[in-house]
């Protein structure tokens, strides 16, 4: 029995139809607004005669701008650096997030509201807050000690691998501030909080019954975790990993503060867009924007395909 039948009167039907139309209409208008705002970037690129007095720019189509952007070596650098740094951040985040999320999901911990708040803070605070905090932290004695404790072989190995992968010499010293590898640190806090939330949602849906059964059959807690929970949660964890990666890719403020906006060194995609914009090359910034939009779309589709949930932050 549906509600429409329950109300029964024609007036009720009209009212319900009207309600559905209004609610659906608002959704449609909002979706149209999102599409409109994003697509206006394409229109901007496609009509250079509206913003340029240069014949060479006017003669180009939006597609040519886009192709040029795809061929630009500085963009290649930015894309490679973004993808790599976000991947490292996402993997490190999962190393922390899987056990932390399991603990949060399974153990009754006193003061859980405090933990919840602390966990969500990096996601909720304006991103530059993290960047400035890191900058301040590395001024403290502990921060200096951390710089000094970073082993030289580690620094050398990272520099070597980054130089090889990026095709640009990277030779940072032990200091983390303004270094290329520091990008991971700038991304980590937000991405990791995000990862814990994503993985905890997966563990919560699985419930404790399967582990309990496994334990009555003679498994230890550790065995139950690895043999029962992790295999069941695997797809969800991969979905969480994908979203954590996307979140790390999107990071801008903390990197601007902590790693700086240095071309061919700490120039991830959002930083590259900022650098173009701050020298007036708006069309180059728009090309990068479109590339980021495409990457995000593909990431989201992958996330949904893996069965990830839409209600994560």
């Amino acid at each position: 029995m549906t509600t429409t039948e329950a109300i029964g009167s024609p007036r009720g039907n009209v009212g319900n139809a009207l309600f559905a139309a209004v609610v659906g209409g608002i959704l449609v208008v909002f979706l149209a607004a999102v599409a409109l705002v994003l697509l206006s970037n394409v229109k901007y690129l496609a009509e250079p005669q509206n913003w340029s007095m240069l014949d060479e720019a006017k003669a180009k189509s939006g597609w040519q701008f886009f192709l040029e952007g795809l061929k630009d070596p500085e963009n290649h650098f930015a894309i490679k650096l973004s993808v790599l740094m976000a991947a490292i951040t996402a993997l490190l985040s999962m190393v922390v997030a899987i056990p932390a999320a399991y603990a949060l999901s399974r153990f009754r911990i006193p003061g859980s509201s405090v933990i919840d708040t602390l966990l969500d803070l990096p996601i909720v605070v304006p991103p530059p807050v993290i960047g400035l905090s890191l900058l301040i932290f590395f001024r403290t004695d502990l921060g200096h000690a951390l710089n000094n404790l970073t082993p030289q072989w580690f620094v050398d190995a990272i520099n070597y691998l980054l130089s090889k992968f990026l095709g640009q010499p990277i030779n940072d010293d032990k200091v983390w501030v303004y270094s290329t590898r520091g990008i991971v640190l700038a991304q980590f806090f937000v991405a990791c909080s995000f990862g814990v939330r994503a993985v905890k949602a997966v563990f919560d849906t699985i419930g404790t019954r399967y582990e309990d059964v496994a334990r009555t059959l003679g498994c230890s807690r550790l065995q139950a975790f690895f043999k029962v929970v992790v295999p069941m949660a695997r797809t969800g964890i991969v979905a969480g990993l994908v979203m954590t990666w996307a979140r790390a890719m999107a990071e801008f403020g903390p990197i601007l503060f902590f790693s700086g906006a240095t071309p061919y060194k700490t120039e991830v995609m959002p930083i590259a867009m900022f650098l173009r914009y701050s020298t007036g090359r708006i069309e180059s910034a728009v090309v990068l924007l479109l590339i980021m939009l495409m990457i995000s779309t593909v990431t989201l589709l992958t996330f949904k395909r893996l069965g990830g949930r839409g209600y994560l932050w």
């Binding site: 509206n50 913003w51 340029s52 007095m53 240069l54 720019a57 490679k80 993808v83 400035l132 900058l135 301040i136 590395f138 001024r139 520099n159 130089s163 090889k164 992968f165 990026l166 095709g167 640009q168 010499p169 990277i170 030779n171 200091v175 501030v177 303004y178 295999p231 695997r234 797809t235 991969v238 601007l256 503060f257 700086g260 906006a261 240095t262 071309p263 060194k265 700490t266 650098l275 914009y277 701050s278 020298t279 007036g280 090359r281 708006i282």
Partner: protein
Amino acid sequence: MMSDARRIVIVTVICAVVLASVLLLAWPGDARQAPSVRLLAHAGAGIQPPLEELGKMFQKKTGVRVDYSYKGSGCLLPDICVSEKGDLYIPGELFYMKQAEDRGLLRASRPVARMTTVIVAQPGNPKKVKSLKDLARPGMRVGLGDAKAIAIGRAARSVLDKAKLRKQVEKNVVMSCMNVVELGNAIKLGHLDAAIVWDGTAALYHGYVTTVPIPVKYSYTSTIPVGVLKFSKHPKEATEFMNFLASKEAEPVFQKHGYQCCLMKSKATKG
């Protein structure tokens, strides 16, 4: 369960293959040989084009690579104070250098290029902006820099005061910004009719905005300085780069990007 496991295996294999092929395709044969000394310069984002070019020239000449960390000039000093890292400081105006000097952050500094105020209007000048007076016309959408925070803001105020137009123009100000490039971008995007910026800024938009000169009697000239920071780990190389920026070799590059040069006439001052 079986099909799930199989799917996971397939996804993992695909991911591994994609990652491996990306790595293989992206992996260049040999990374270029790393230079021994790298300088870090905190620089105003708007001066990026000449600085990038000059940095490359300097590397070719001396083997020393200069990395720039770009931000709006007003944000550079707080950055330097907090991080205490970097070798050089290149803000967009002398005003910021004075602040660094007052805080004892400099070993030495010298002016390298000059810039002067101009009016920029939309491409093709649809609002027919011909002089400062046109900025006071009712209905004009004008942008100026924040007079308390940034150099171009103070410069524009001085220009308008000299032309006795400040009151009238300020009525038309719809945007007050913290970074001069935002004014150029707003013109290029068509959100403003006119703005007062540096000639070096206007040069960033060559072909995308209309530049209207301001008569010398009203205009305001400012200086881009370079300073060597006191916590520089390579003061010798940093000083060398500072002098390079003020040299005859650097002159055509600055000029190409719309700046005038100070050359060697200016002596380096101890900070």
